[in-house]
Symmetry: C2
Subunit: 277 residues, 2 copies
């Protein structure tokens, strides 16, 4: 039985998904929906078999992957009403899940499972597509529309067959978790680098060691990606920032009152070690 | 003319300095002052030629390197009164400089130049000593006792001859700079990991990517080292934390008022890029 995938947004993630699904023998045909320039490259690279408009591609697909910015995914979802087949599964690769899953829940007759592949590369773009990108990476699948459905199982098996580990959680749990493990570290790194930019405006920061290089790596992230993430996860990120501030305060008070930070350092090291196990 | 070095605290830094100075053909003889167990290893490894007490080693040395914890350096300095020769240069490898340089300034007849080699390894100890440790690394030399002195020049040339780049600054400038480039990033990483340890107490933080690994690397640092650093640089670290908090606040307000962080991200990325040039 032929299996057709439509990838809406053929960049690094969408392109890698298409290549991986073909290599795993799951996708017989890949339809690409993207800008003309991107489609031209994707066709030349053999990543998609046809470049089409959304209206043509969606009704032919057994699986639709929306792989673009969060706002673009949210704009695309209502357009799938009546286009996506009832037996198809629609999924996405956005970095926050509540806004996307809620938008999809309002589209009758469409079966949607939110997704978040925890994979990436420093450089994006369809030229960087790599069928091994998801090997050994976690891939969140949201359970908000239930999991006891053959369409869910089909997506679950596909994620496994391209080498990723599916992690099932609801959209709220996902957004709370990534607010702490991804969005908070991003903001800390940005705030640190922005603060140092003020301190060292006219001098080279000559005393920088490898610790500062690590601590400012995320500060290189492009804002447009983060704008969408911040806008669709405000409450959880604010909560995570407030939790962080408690620890900042304990440090600041320890410095002014000659207090001790041994317990905080021990807790922190315990977490950092657990993360590396 | 024979040149004798005394290394007080023969660990990774002291041992590497001894090896590097010998390899560069500068030290004819290295006297080690350390615990009996460490001296035994250092002698076996050919890192020191003799293991002695401070009282025996100091009068024989043309250069004395104090390479231990900040508090131990501060305790050792007054003991050098009348022991260190007037034509010798005494230096150290502590991570903060004001407390050490001020202690040394009170010892009449001793010429002291504070030092901070910006080098290290994950594992410490004399067994890790490596004559190439300082290659291409910056080595701060404090200018508080002036630089127009042959004893200063001798230390300066030695630092260069072992492959490091001497950076001249006064102790206050050093402490202000490292508060921002080293101590602040350490505290941020510790606070982040401590905060996440609270959030993920009973679960594995399954959604952690490489960004979180980078962001929590410093949180693995041992507290005893940092206890001394925090105690001897309280004012500058507090100031750096307050500067950081301004950026945190801008983020928190942008999240609650749906504001924009584009300018902050741009400043941060500019700094992070400059750091990598």
């Amino acid at each position: 039985m032929a299996f057709t995938i439509a990838v809406v947004g053929v960049g690094l993630i969408g392109g890698s998904f298409a290549l991986a699904a073909k290599r795993a023998g799951i996708a017989d045909r890949v339809l690409g929906v993207s800008s003309p320039g991107t489609l031209e490259k994707a066709l030349a690279l053999g990543i998609v078999d046809e470049g089409l408009a959304l209206e043509e591609a969606a009704p032919r697909a057994d699986l639709i992957l929306l792989s673009a910015t969060i706002h673009s995914i949210i704009e695309t979802i209502p357009r799938l009403r009546g286009l996506a087949r009832r037996d198809a599964v629609v999924t996405d690769a956005g970095s926050t899940k509540r806004a996307i899953v809620n938008t999809a829940a309002a589209v009758d007759g469409m079966y949607f499972v939110g997704g978040h592949p925890m994979a990436g590369k420093e450089k994006g773009g369809v030229e960087e597509a790599d069928p091994s990108l998801f090997h050994g990476r976690r891939w969140v699948l949201t359970t908000d529309q239930g999991t006891g459905d053959p369409r869910f199982d089909r997506l679950f098996e596909l994620v496994k067959s391209i080498g990723a580990s599916p992690v099932l959680m609801n959209a709220s749990g996902h957004d709370a978790a990534v607010a702490r493990t991804s969005h908070l570290p991003q903001l800390l790194s940005t705030a640190l680098a922005a603060s140092l930019e003020q301190s060292f405006q006219h001098e080279a920061p000559v005393l920088a060691g490898p610790g500062l290089i690590d601590a400012t790596r995320l500060a290189l992230s492009p804002y447009p990606v983060w704008k969408d993430i911040l806008e669709t996860n405000r409450d959880q990120i604010s909560a995570a920032m407030s939790e962080y501030l408690e620890e900042w305060r304990a440090q600041f008070e320890a410095l002014s009152r000659e207090g001790d930070l041994e317990a905080q350092f021990a807790r922190a090291a315990a977490f950092a070690k657990r993360l590396r196990e």
